[in-house]
């Protein structure tokens, strides 16, 4: 396999931008119309995902370990979409047709053979990982909504009963699909430690114009069946560290940290925990009464609410300012969850203040607060 040629031909194809995934999906849907139903109406985000995945695969095609790790995750992740082995053949055909189209005269038998080999390698890792995963867990869980409580103007807490039982570590998250918005999956963190009855809470923040969050906060009445993907995410407690804990949450970033606090409550001697909980306005601190009540019964937990005010241009900065002012944290374990700029700002400032990178654990919720 001529890897240099593979990469340079991909770079040339990629120059055509959005035309490339657009052509690929049109080719796929024409040749295999039944696959269209596996995707959402708007394909804009989907095309970006495809390009991102292709870039990852092509850039690691000469690093087998990296490629294997990526393709395994991708293969497992595709189970919940109902992806079958024959779909990989169809996708491969359309992918090659797309590359051939954009390569033009540069496309020849040797290049085609290299692309085919690279695709078949990736697809075989994905299929094998999916098959292996089948032995351990279902492709998705059915989560029946058993409770919905509006905690603030734009935050609702959903209680869901997954079937079969969903096993996870506090701090992890799952992709959720609402029947009101088919084929649109969004990640949410479990907000409680595993319970004996198996029920799970999710904190849903209404994002302006957000279809899934709107469906979950407004329309998901009791009895609605959601689809839930397998638990993912690397945010989890390091119970062996013995260090005290600093937690920083903005808005619904609280969810995974609350699950971890509940987990700590089950420890014989929980370490001291300082939780900084920030929001724009007082009503954004949607779970504060519950947290304070919990802290009153668990003396190792200290809750520090922080409100930025609506006017502030750099809202989340108020929260990190307050964290940095309140103590020296370099000997703590830090767990940070919330919007991208807050997570980045907080981890950068803690690192600058001497906290080793291995002690900083983050969950980026992807939205922006600005």
């Amino acid at each position: 396999m001529d890897i240099a040629r593979l990469k340079s031909s991909f770079a040339k194809v990629a120059m055509h931008g959005d035309e490339v995934p657009l052509h690929f999906y049109s080719d796929l849907f024409l040749k295999h119309p039944e696959t269209r139903d596996m995707f959402p109406v708007s394909m804009q985000a989907q095309r970006a995902h495809l390009v991102a995945a292709l870039v990852s695969i092509v850039s690691s095609v000469d690093d087998l370990d990296g490629l294997t790790a990526f393709a395994r995750d991708l293969g497992r992740d595709h189970r919940k979409f109902g992806t079958l082995a024959e779909h990989y053949v169809a996708v491969g055909d359309s992918l090659l047709a797309t590359f051939a189209y954009f390569c033009g005269e540069a496309w020849d038998a040797a290049l085609e053979a290299d692309w085919k080999a690279a695709y078949e390698l990736t697809a075989s890792i994905m299929v094998a990982a999916a098959r292996e995963d089948e032995k351990h867990q279902p492709a998705y869980w059915t989560g029946t909504v058993v409770g919905r409580e509006r905690k603030a103007f734009d935050v609702a807490v959903l209680t869901v009963q997954p079937e079969p039982r969903l096993d996870y570590l506090p701090g992890q998250s799952v992709a959720i699909e609402s029947p009101a918005r088919p084929r649109l999956w969004r990640y949410y963190s479990m907000a409680n430690a595993p319970r004996t009855d198996g029920s799970v809470e999710f904190h849903i923040r209404l994002i302006d114009g957000g279809a899934v969050s709107m469906a979950l906060t407004s329309h998901a009445a009791g009895g609605t069946d959601l689809r839930i993907g397998p638990p993912v995410g690397s945010l989890r407690l390091d119970p062996a560290s013995g260090r005290e804990i600093l937690m920083v949450a903005w808005s619904t970033g609280l969810a995974p940290l609350k699950a971890m606090i509940e987990q700590l409550a089950g420890f014989p001697r929980p370490p001291a925990v300082h939780l900084f909980f920030g929001a724009r306005a007082a009503d954004g601190l949607y779970d504060l009464p519950g947290l304070e009540k919990f802290a009153a019964g668990h003396r190792w937990l200290t809750v520090i609410p922080v409100v930025s005010g609506e006017r502030s241009a750099d809202r989340t900065r108020t929260l990190t300012d307050s964290v940095m002012r309140s103590g020296t944290w370099s000997t703590h374990d830090a767990y940070i969850a919330g919007p991208t700029e807050m997570v980045q700002d907080a981890s950068a400032r803690l690192a600058a203040a001497g906290m080793p990178a291995a002690q900083i654990h983050v969950e980026d919720f992807g939205w922006s607060e600005q």
Binding site: S26, F29, G104, Y187
Partner: protein, 230 residues
């Protein structure tokens, strides 16, 4: 080469004529065909071939022209297409442009829904702000009155009420203040209830609207998305 028909339409060479062509034989000692008729026939064959080649070239140009008209000439990739499965590429383009239209509709719907939520948020903040202002105003006024009452009471301190008339005046003052606070409490209660009713009214309208209007089935949001090809 020109594509003009220089030949005579009446004298087209047919495969049949080639099959049945015959030439007079030359006289002894050389046995063969008369040269002239053979040359004339070859000239006719040559003319027919030239005509066919020209015709083919002009038809090819016509095919190219029509193809360009169908596929559009704006895209520089056209030369890549020729000789490939053009009908399929054409279909891919039609589907791609339909997908783009769908994406735009969804994006518009998303933007619209975003604007509605944002407006609702702003109006809620306005109403809350107004209620807060109103409450502050009531409190200020009540405080001012209370202070005035206290000052008035202090003024009278050195001179305890002696006459029935003065005692009655103090009682009247107390009664007035009680009534006053009662009235203001009532005002505040009515106002707050009114604001709450407005909010509830909105919420039920929002719910009804969400039930009645078929919302677009998909809108991408900021939020974490699953990676991958699917």
């Amino acid at each position: 080469m020109t594509s003009h028909a220089w030949y005579d339409e009446q004298h087209r060479l047919t495969p049949d004529e080639l099959q049945t062509a015959s030439f007079p034989l030359t006289r002894w000692p050389r046995h063969g065909y008369e040269e002239e008729p053979v040359r004339a026939f070859l000239a006719q064959v040559q003319a027919e071939l030239v005509r066919l080649i020209n015709e083919r070239a002009s038809l090819w140009q016509e095919v190219q022209r029509l193809r360009r008209r169908i596929l559009g000439t704006t895209n520089g990739n056209d030369d890549v297409l020729f000789g490939k499965d053009d009908a399929h590429i054409h279909a891919v383009r039609i589907l791609s442009s339909a997908q783009r239209t769908a994406d735009r509709y969804v994006a518009d719907a998303q933007a619209y829904s975003g604007r509605l939520t944002e407006e609702a948020r702003t109006r809620r903040d306005e109403i809350m702000g107004q209620a807060q202002q109103h409450a502050d105003m009531l409190l200020d006024e009540a405080r001012t009155r209370a202070r005035a009452a206290a000052v008035a009471a202090m003024d009278k301190e050195g001179l305890p009420p002696q006459t029935d008339q003065e005692r009655r005046a103090v009682h009247a003052e107390l009664a007035y203040l009680r009534t006053f606070s009662e009235v203001y409490r009532q005002h505040l209660k009515i106002y707050t209830e009114d604001v709450l009713r407005t909010i509830e009214d909105w919420e039920s309208k929002e719910r009804a609207a969400a039930r009645d209007i078929p919302v677009p089935r998909d809108v991408p949001v900021s939020g974490q998305n699953p990676p991958g090809i699917r």
